[in-house]
Symmetry: C2
Subunit: 233 residues, 2 copies
DNA sequence: CAGTGGTCTAGACCACTCG
DNA sequence: GAGTGGTCTAGACCACTGA
């Protein structure tokens, strides 16, 4: 026998990674087909398929019908980012969560918000902004616009106690969204709320969500410069 | 019959999503078991399993053995981030890629670099920094430290023409890494290189990679504030 | 048009965990 | 201990696509 039994998809992945990392299969290599690997490993093709499919999803392999599977030459690696509710993020860091409603106004969208949500200027919206605190210290400033017809209950939501994010997550399903990460200098208002110097760099996350083609909400979240978002790959 | 044939895993996913979005299954609902769904949809359990497993991976469902599958109450949604090579990112935006080597020095690590890579102060390292340009304009400043014993060929790499990133990706495999996103105010040097005002907010990405337990490289990439990273969910 | 990956099926065994 | 999801198998058909 030339090869011990490798009959779990994770074992197959480990073996493939071992060969890639050992440069037995350097970038660009065309690796054997699923049937061949299955035979060599002593397992079913479905097992090899799952192993290879998942590695391709992370960008390590590239698969094409007829052409086969090769080790990615220019790996566009995929990293998975967790997007938790802010309260949970704070609590998972072991800090006490605090919440302050800053503003709650029924108003038409600003031009920026209009553009992001693709809504008319006279759309019926709720503008809600709030602070999230970690151990009494400013953690995140949230500035949100909600399209009222898409989430009618929002007008009765107890936003003085609960962030709009938490209310929406439980009450209004969405089908897809877009997240945008960037940096910006703190405006005087943001500086005051986040207790940083004016012009201090902030980490910005903007999120827009839809249900089917109907826009629900746009939110801009600003974090102090000492915040960072982490992911493993 | 109560239900048309839904016999592809994507059709099953669509049906599940439809029921969640239609609030037929609001957050927290315990949904039917795999066998039951398979029978209702007229497909095999494996098909339902794949559909549900993938939805659970994105955070929409939560699955536990014995307890069953429920619609996530506090959805920690997962977003997938593409991490391309900078040259490809620039080219895919339709801009011309440019590259300038700024510095190339063999030196011991700074305290920050030491901490990130968990290396001793006298480790043998190459410090390489460079600018990536899009249509002749500054796009990203890359400041990198490479642990020479982990990537010996780096000393002969043509870093005057090719970024260390591109060379490493093809020549040195890695097993895992950590990425950290944050914001910072531009130092005088960064401001000059990126052609922004001193103190201007920069988007910062720091990446550390290892092969098994052996650190390979640490890189800090700074982007002008007009840059943003996007992902869909 | 032939060979690759993509998927589905029916059945089985297993591991975990909740009641 | 029983029931759920987690996985593997052997076989089959299909869609795509590059030679």
């Amino acid at each position: 026998m030339s090869q011990a039994q490798i009959n779990s998809y994770q074992a197959v992945q480990a073996e493939i990674m071992k060969r890639i990392q050992g440069r037995e299969w350097p970038p660009g290599t065309l690796i054997p087909g699923e049937m061949e690997l299955a035979e060599a490993f002593g397992c079913a093709r479905a097992t090899v398929n799952r192993a290879l499919r998942e590695l391709a999803e992370t960008g390590i392999l590239e698969r094409k019908r007829r052409a086969g599977t090769r080790v990615a030459l220019n790996p566009v690696r995929k990293a998975v980012l967790d997007i938790p509710i802010t309260r949970h993020e704070i609590e998972s860091r072991g800090a006490a969560y605090g919440y302050n409603l800053v503003e709650r106004t029924r108003a038409g969208p600003t031009p920026t918000v209009q553009a992001r949500l693709e809504l008319p200027a006279d759309a019926d919206m709720l503008h809600v902004s709030c602070m999230h605190l970690a151990d009494q210290r400013p953690f995140q400033f949230e500035d949100r616009w909600v399209h009222i017809p898409a989430a009618p209950g929002i007008l009765e939501a107890p936003l003085d106690r609960l962030s709009a994010n938490e209310w929406l997550v439980q009450e209004v399903p969405y089908s897809h969204g877009r997240i945008l990460f960037s940096a910006a200098n703190a405006t005087p208002r943001e500086a005051e709320l986040l207790e940083v110097a004016e012009g201090s760099a902030l980490f910005i996350v903007e999120r827009t969500t839809w249900l089917a083609c109907s826009p629900i909400t746009f939110v801009r979240m600003s974090y102090r410069a000492d915040y960072s978002m982490v992911t493993e790959l």
